[in-house]
Each structure stands twice: as structure tokens, then as C-alpha cells.
């Protein structure tokens, strides 16, 4: 029996996969792929800068995305999206995924879910982690954030999840689940030590409830993974309560979009993606007057400097960095 790999390629944004497939479908070589992925990397930083006034500088010298390029290619070869025989060739699976990417859009959830399906098939331990999380108390876990200290050993991760993997793979798993709306996470401190609180934002069931879901096979059983969706009433209640918490019980005080989002998401066990949909609806609410403002975040505040934290744009123009809420007076 071949021991399955529990090491994931070191990238977590599916947009890189879309770019890679695009390049390979055009017959590009390694250098062209690297150039494309570097552009994407820069684009991510540019987006962060446009939205919040903060972003890292990505150097344009060649070789800066070497590891990223090799990891993306390795992932695509392993998941049978491309082949490598002297030159790179896109496979039928790869072409199907590329078609979905082109139809739905590279940033859209449909494309990301399709990418995740490939991970479930070719890196089965990824699905095991999702199931392991679902079995934890409250389907959540405080995972040590060891970025600035000695990383956790794989044995320690095995103690937490029952799966032996490295800590970087765990971060990748967290981020790809997050992009697909299956888990959400936030940074917390427990006894002054940093942790990621990771919680499930979907329901895993053997019953098909005819909702839009993700179908997976495990141990000869079929499971349906359905992202959680609150009803609008519970969303409004949580939204207002969490806003009041953040604004210290004052209405019309601007709070950061991502601060409010993660609090509501944590309470309702929903993903950022679902929150963003409900938020757009609440902008038209008869109960609340919700206003948004663009603007750079103050110096010293680094929270906005995460792709996860980027707020959506209003009317495809301005980034909704600041959110202010008040209850509408009934006339």
C-alpha cells in the first residue's frame, strides 16, 4: 500500500491554478508561467494596497516566484490537470476546470469548489482534516499559531487532528477551506499565546437536502457538504449585536468591515463568502441604516493586510473598509 502524501504544495490561492491552466493551455513554458504567477502575486498586493493603503512590495526580478511556480506545477501534475513531457500539456480535467474558471470567473466560489474537489481526490487527508474538525467540540479548534516560534511537530498535529502533517500544510488547508466557505478562522490569544480559532461553517451529512452542496466519497459512503446559511432574522440580530459590541454601544461609529464580519461569522458559523452576500442585502434593510466608507486603515494596524480580510467593493468601485450602522427610526 502506498502511503498517501500529507504534504501540500505551498500555496493556497486557487487563482494561481486558474492562471497556470491558462498559460499551459496556450503552450507556455516555465518562464511564462512564472511571469504570470508573479503578476498574480503583485495583483494581490495591489488589491490590498488599493483597499486599505497597505500591501507588501513584490519584487519583479525573475526567480522571485520560483517556489510558487514549482509548487503550482507539482500540484497540477499530481491532480492530473496538466502533464509534463518535455513541455506542459493541459489534460481533459484541466481543460474542464479551465472552462469553469473562464465561465464563473477566477475569483468565484464555483471555480474554487472545483479546485477543492481535486484536492479531495488527490490529497485525501485534506478531507480527513475537514471530518476531524467536524467531530471536535462545537466543530472548532484552537490551533497554535507558531509562525514566529518553533513550528509544531507533525506528531503534535497528529495529536490534535489525528492526521500526521506539517504545519504549513495545515495553514494551506485552513486557507483553501476558507476560500471555499467550509471553514472560517480568526487570530486569538489564549494565555497570551497566539492561536487560530478555526471553526466549521458547513454541514456534513449523508443526506442530500437538495441544496447546493459538495458531494464527496469517504469509506464507501457519500457525504454532502453544505455551507451554512442563516435566516435573515438571525443574521440581522447577530449583525446588530456584534456591531454594538465593536462600537461600544454607539450607533454610527465606523468599524472595520472584517472585524464585524468575523464576529458575526463566528457566532452564526458562516463563511466570509456567505456573510458578504447577506451584508449586501442588509444594505437595503428597512431595520438598519448601514453605511460604508472607503479609506486607508491607520498606520500600525495590520489587520487589513490579509487577503482574507479584504472587504467587498460597493458598486464595483469603492472598498467598504468602514461600516457604520444605526437602527432606522420607524416613521
Amino acid at each position: 500500500m502506498i502511503k498517501q502524501s500529507t504534504r501540500l504544495p505551498r500555496f493556497s490561492r486557487f487563482e494561481y491554478v486558474g492562471d497556470l491552466l491558462n498559460e499551459v493551455s496556450q503552450g507556455s513554458d516555465w518562464n511564462a508561467i512564472e511571469q504570470r504567477l508573479t503578476m498574480r502575486k503583485k495583483e494581490f498586493e495591489r488589491l490590498k494596497f488599493l483597499a486599505t493603503g497597505k500591501g507588501k512590495r513584490v519584487l519583479s526580478k525573475s526567480g522571485k516566484s520560483k517556489d510558487l511556480t514549482n509548487d503550482c506545477i507539482a500540484m497540477a501534475v499530481k491532480t492530473e490537470l496538466i502533464t509534463k513531457n518535455g513541455s506542459y500539456q493541459i489534460t481533459k480535467n484541466g481543460q474542464n476546470l479551465l472552462n469553469i474558471c473562464n465561465e464563473s470567473g477566477i475569483y468565484e466560489i464555483d471555480f474554487k469548489i472545483e479546485c477543492l474537489q481535486s484536492y479531495f481526490i488527490f490529497y485525501p487527508f485534506v478531507l480527513d482534516i475537514l471530518f476531524a474538525l467536524s467531530k471536535k467540540e462545537n466543530a472548532e479548534i484552537n490551533f497554535p499559531d507558531t509562525r514566529h516560534v518553533k513550528h509544531l511537530e507533525s506528531i503534535e498535529i497528529e495529536n490534535i487532528f489525528g492526521i500526521k502533517t506539517d504545519v504549513v500544510s495545515m495553514m494551506v488547508v485552513r486557507d483553501i477551506f476558507n476560500q471555499c466557505g467550509l471553514v472560517n478562522w480568526k487570530s486569538i490569544k489564549v494565555n497570551d499565546l497566539p492561536f487560530w480559532k478555526i471553526f466549521l461553517t458547513c454541514k456534513i451529512s449523508t443526506k442530500n437536502e437538495n441544496k447546493k452542496n459538495l458531494k464527496v466519497e469517504k469509506n464507501n459512503l457519500t457525504y454532502y457538504i453544505t455551507p451554512n446559511e442563516p435566516n435573515s432574522g438571525s443574521f440581522e440580530t447577530s449583525f446588530w449585536n456584534k456591531y454594538m459590541e465593536l462600537s461600544e454601544n454607539s450607533s454610527d461609529i465606523p468599524v472595520y468591515y472584517w472585524d464585524l464580519r468575523i464576529r458575526v461569522c463566528e457566532e452564526l458559523r458562516i463563511s466570509d463568502y456567505i456573510y458578504d452576500i447577506y451584508f449586501k442585502n442588509i444594505l437595503k434593510s428597512k431595520n438598519f441604516r448601514v453605511t460604508c466608507a472607503a479609506g486607508a486603515i491607520p498606520s500600525g494596524n495590520t489587520q487589513g493586510n490579509l487577503l482574507k480580510n479584504l472587504p467587498p467593493r460597493k458598486d464595483d468601485e469603492f472598498w467598504m473598509v468602514y461600516v457604520s450602522v444605526s437602527k432606522r427610526e420607524i416613521s
Binding site: S250, G295, G300, S324
Partner: protein, 413 residues
Amino acid sequence: MNDNFKLLHLTENPFPQNPTIIIDDVDKKINGMIHDTKIFEIEHKKFEKLLEQKTNLIYVCGSQTVRGDGKSAFIAYHYRRIESNSDIISIFIQCTDRNGKVNNPDRFCREFLLKCEKKNYLWRSFSKLLVQFVKDHPSYGYAHSKFITMFSKFVTPPNQLPLQRYTKISNTKDLAKSFRDWLCDKCGCSQNIAQYFSSLYLEKPQDMQKQLQKSTNKIQEYDDILKILMFSGFLHVYIFLNQMEDALENVSTKITIEFTAGMRRIMEKSNGKATLICTIHPSSLRTILDNPQAKVNITSLAPMDDNHKIMLFPENITKNSKIVGFISSYLSHFYSSKSINNEITPFEKHVLEYTAQLSGGNLRDILRGMYNCINVALDQKISNIDVNFVKNNHKEIFDKEFSQEIFDKSKLN
């Protein structure tokens, strides 16, 4: 050019090319003289109440994604309204970003002092107090009526005050010294300030501006001058800090703390005497709130609650045809004839409603759109600006494509 405007029954383009408030400009399109209070009817009432209550600090916050939501126009209207009351001091200060010269509390105070001088408040105080001082003074009392006569002639600071000619007092130094001591004793101001207030105005009134521009501890000077102004009988001081958010834009943690500490000092000095009104953007509010020390500095004296905060929602302009009143408030100043039947000539009402909806209620965008409408109509020699005209010239007017969805929505309101 004027002949072309006749086609539209106008004397000139009634809308500003750059919709922004420049309070000292002679152009009424941008100096805050034109204002339609209906857009912020509720907010105006609430604001007036806070002003009447002499609230120590009032935050005027915009609610919109971008600037141009009417904060400056809102406070400019109240500045002008209060200005007409001669017993109250109304000062409008244009703050700048860190590259400008009016970007911290010390410089706000300097601007305040300079404007008090420029607007004659200091001279009025000086003349009133000096008359009061000499009235019961054993050495100068005889000249009381002469002082009254002199100041009735010099209601603004002259190059040199002809004191001897009017009062026969030749030793101005002694008079200045006695007046200084009396001021310090009566109103509690510092001797340094009382010294230049009395001697400069008695000897070289025109040098007062130079003195006030000097880099000294301006917050302390503000405190002293405030005492003098109040002692002279002014009832209250309102200081409008327009674009205060600019001073807090992209500043370091250290500067934020220093800024708020300075504001706190000003508030402490202003207690019961002055009200500060500042416009603020969500990002600058957060700059303060995200810094524990800065937050304490400001909010312990002026919490950001409903008793200190006005939130403006200009998108209300899209409702109940409020846009009509807003646009006609500009047009009415520039009609070439008084016999215009329609208050929004040359516009068709639906054009205004569409513009309001398209801009999401952003007042600056509305005014810019109107300005362009007039210019394009002039170019094409069109006398009636209707929906078809706007559709056909949409890109030129609004710099974006026509939106049928917004057009349909605007018809519903």
C-alpha cells in the same frame, strides 16, 4: 459667453467647477452662501440644539464611501448663520493635511487667533475693555467719554491710535501697564498676553497680526485670549474645524497621540466658553479609536455619542424630490430674468432625479454633473436639458455610461 448663457436664461454657470467649500472666496458657489437646508433637515435641527447647548465638541461625520457628502457645506451654513450674531464669535478654520500649515491643535489655535484679529473680534474686545477700564480709574477716569468718542471713530484697528489727540494722555506705556494689570486681575489671563494685547493695540495696532503669527505656545495663548474675549462680553465662541480629517490622514501613532493630547488641552481651555465643531471621516475616527491613548484623550471629554455627533446622510436627496430644492437654490442666484416660471429651468425634473440617483446622493458628484450639463448644453446650443439630452451626452457629462437600471429607479422616487 454671457450671450450664450441667455439661451438658458442664466447669467453664468450656476454650479461650481470644483465643488468644495472655500469660505473666504468671493464666489458664492463655493463660499457656503448657497445652501439648501432641506437635504439635512433633521440633522440641522439636531445640530442647532447641540450648538445651543454649548456642547464642547461636535463631530460632523459623513456617511458616504467617498468625500463630497456635504459636511463642509453643512458647517459653513451654520458658521454663516452664527456669524450674523454680533455677540457670538464664529470662526471657520480650514485644516490641512500633514504637508500644510494648519494640521495640528497648536496651529488651529494660531489660526483662531489670526482670524479673531482679522474679523475684528480682538479690537472690539480691546476697545470695550479699555473704555471699561478707564471709567472708574482714578487717573484716567476723566477721559472716559473721550475714549468712547475715539473708538466710535476707530471701529477697526488703525495704523496708529491717536490717543493723545483724543484723550490728552501722552504716556501710553503707563496706560498700557495699568490696563495690563487690570486685565490680568479681572479675567485671569497671563501677563505676557495681556502685555502685548494692551501695548500693541495702544501703540502699533497693525503689528498684532505679526505678533499672533509668532511660534509660541499657541494653546496657552488661545486660553488667555479666550478669557479676554469672554470678559469683554462675548457670549460664546464657535470654532469650525473644516476637514479636520485631513490632519489625521496617514499619520503615525505618535502624531495621533500628540494631536489628540493637543485637542484635549484645547477642550479643557474651552470649557464653557467655546464649542469646537470638526468634520471627520470614518478613517480618521478609527485612527483615534484604534489608539487607546488617543481615544482616552478625546472621548473622555467628548464621547462619540449622539450628544456629540452628527451623521449626515446625503442620499436622502434622492427622496421626495429634495434634489429640486437643492438645484434650484443654485439656479435662483443666476437667472438672467426674474420672470422665470419654472424654478429648475433649464432642467427637466427627471434629469435631476436621475443625477441624484446616479451619484448615490453624493452632493459633490451632483454639482459636478450639473456643471457639465450646463457646459455641454451651451456647446450644443440646447435651451432645454431633458432626459434625451442627458442620455445622448452621458459620457461627456458624467464620465460613465448611461444606466437604464438607475434611470428606472429614479422614476420610482
